[in-house]
Symmetry: C2
Subunit: 321 residues, 2 copies
């Protein structure tokens, strides 16, 4: 099967009732999108490479999910409502089983968020997935990295921070887990849930937000730098699964603070908005946990529940380190 046929068979879904914003989808030189009046378009792009962002062992359907999820997570971190995405795909060969599974996983998540694949490109080459997502947000209401203020509380979403990193350590062979525990953390790694609804609920509540892709400390560092502030994180307050909580403390700390691949939202809000944040979490059906405080003193401090400093010997994940 050739390139055009492969695309046509798995990536065009004729006759689907498109969103009002989508004027023209796959099949022309460009897709045409019409954001609602007064809305800004939020755009993000992520490239996934085998061995870096996913392992060859991942099921194609889960890979389709994850490729879109990590992009939707960027829209969530801006408080943007998803509209559509494009997909560019390099494949070593025209592997229909892979493409069919990948498309199934991608479209299942796209449908869950009411968005369409509006365009794309397919080519032969080492496996590479590049998705660009588009969302809309009322002008001036986007959650930015630059809005954290001294005195703000620091929050994190979800209940399984660090599980993706724990799964990676098992795949790497540096750690072992019983089968069921491994399946649970593997799910966290392969099927992250983008916090889109929470991002929308946090508009007007949170002062800044970022999604945790490179590790909590590294991503928080971007917020602190952009906002010109410092922070203290309480590691014992960070939410973790029963599986992670059963691991040695040093491993827990590494997974929680330097893990990456979590795709939870890390955000700040004034202490006066504490109840509003909890309400936003309930509204979105997502646990939100206060795990620290933004301070005027520059730098990033990590303490335990007793207030003692916790060592942080890891660097943020850097693809070229």
């Amino acid at each position: 099967m050739g390139e055009f046929e492969l695309i046509a068979r798995h990536f065009t879904r004729p006759g689907r009732s498109a969103r009002p914003a989508l004027a023209l989808g796959v099949g022309d030189d460009c897709a045409l999108l019409q954001p609602a009046p007064g809305q800004q378009l939020a755009i993000s792009t992520d490239m996934l490479v085998e061995g870096r962002h996913f392992l060859s062992t991942v099921a194609p359907e889960r890979l389709g999910h994850k490729a879109l999820a990590v992009n939707l997570s960027d829209l969530a971190a801006c408080g943007a409502e998803p509209l559509g995405c494009t997909l560019a795909l390099a494949l070593p060969r025209a592997d229909e089983t892979f493409v069919a599974g990948f498309a199934r996983g991608l479209f299942a998540l796209a449908d869950a968020h009411g968005i369409e694949l509006v365009g794309g490109d397919t080519t032969a080459g080492p496996l590479n997935l590049c998705i660009t997502v588009f969302g809309q947000v009322p002008a001036g209401q986007a959650l930015l990295r630059s809005g954290a203020r001294a005195g703000d509380e620091l929050w994190v979403s979800g209940g399984t921070l660090g599980d993706a990193r724990l799964a990676l350590e098992v795949f790497r062979g540096t750690h072992a887990l019983p089968g069921e525990a491994f399946e649970a953390v593997r799910r966290a790694m392969e099927l992250p849930q983008p916090r889109v609804t929470l991002g929308l609920a946090l508009r007007g509540v949170a002062t800044s937000a970022i999604d945790i892709s490179d590790g909590l400390l590294g991503d928080l560092g971007h917020v602190l730098q952009r906002s010109g502030v410092g922070a203290t994180v309480e590691v014992d307050a960070l939410p973790r699964s029963a599986v992670l909580a059963a691991q040695p403390q040093a491993l827990q700390h590494e997974c929680l603070l330097a893990g990456g691949d979590d795709y939870e939202l890390l955000f700040t809000a004034p202490a006066s908005a504490h109840a509003a944040v909890l309400q936003a979490g309930r509204q979105a059906g997502v646990t939100v946990t206060c795990c620290g405080r933004i301070e005027a003193t520059p730098g990033l401090r990590v303490i335990n529940a007793a207030g003692q400093p916790v060592p942080t010997p890891w660097r943020s994940f850097d693809h070229f380190q």
Copy 2:
């Protein structure tokens, strides 16, 4: 140098006066873009892989140009005004010479079209470049593939159709050219000029348009299929360089009709708009040549100046054939 530093050094240009449409550029989870009221957003994405879309011999600066050019060409084919782009880049290693040259070439073309790089992603991996471009076009005025009508004239832009393919044949070793001639066709292959201004001038004049990326016949086939019409192309009317015109006829025909990588516009317009098309070409400073006619009879016929059928034994370029 790490990933973040590499990006910061070469891909952020702080303090640049952004377009009015650009609310927030590189450095947050999303870029924010505000199309003018009443405009649709045109979006296209292209992925370039070494050995498929470019050779390892290409200078990084030319590669930066070409990666953006092929995307701008899609906006041109829709008659859209470019606003911005994102870049996702997989690099085998953090090679600063490559990145610096690539960024130079990309920004030179971006500046020529008044657009900004609004976001991106960099990762380690086999060399892969994925650019997504955004443009705007008044609602309902985009040039589509579906608008060709029987009786329309068929036009092509530019004067060096087929040169990119001729250069590829030299690189492949199937053909030889003297040094100067080779440099000229190599330029056509490595530095294509997206016909953005022509695309804008053709709004309201052309009935359909596509850019020639996979070869004239293959790309025309997409227009005919979408429009439900047929066409006759006169091969002797197709514009070609002096270098190509000096090659054997069979090679000329293959380069002109099945070459690909031309990034010229192939478009249709009513015969009554003949003068308006020539005027659009003058306005854009681009040669436009009438090279055939759209017909009600399905199928694609190629004839020479004497009206005799010309054999077309090639398939459209398919990345998986």
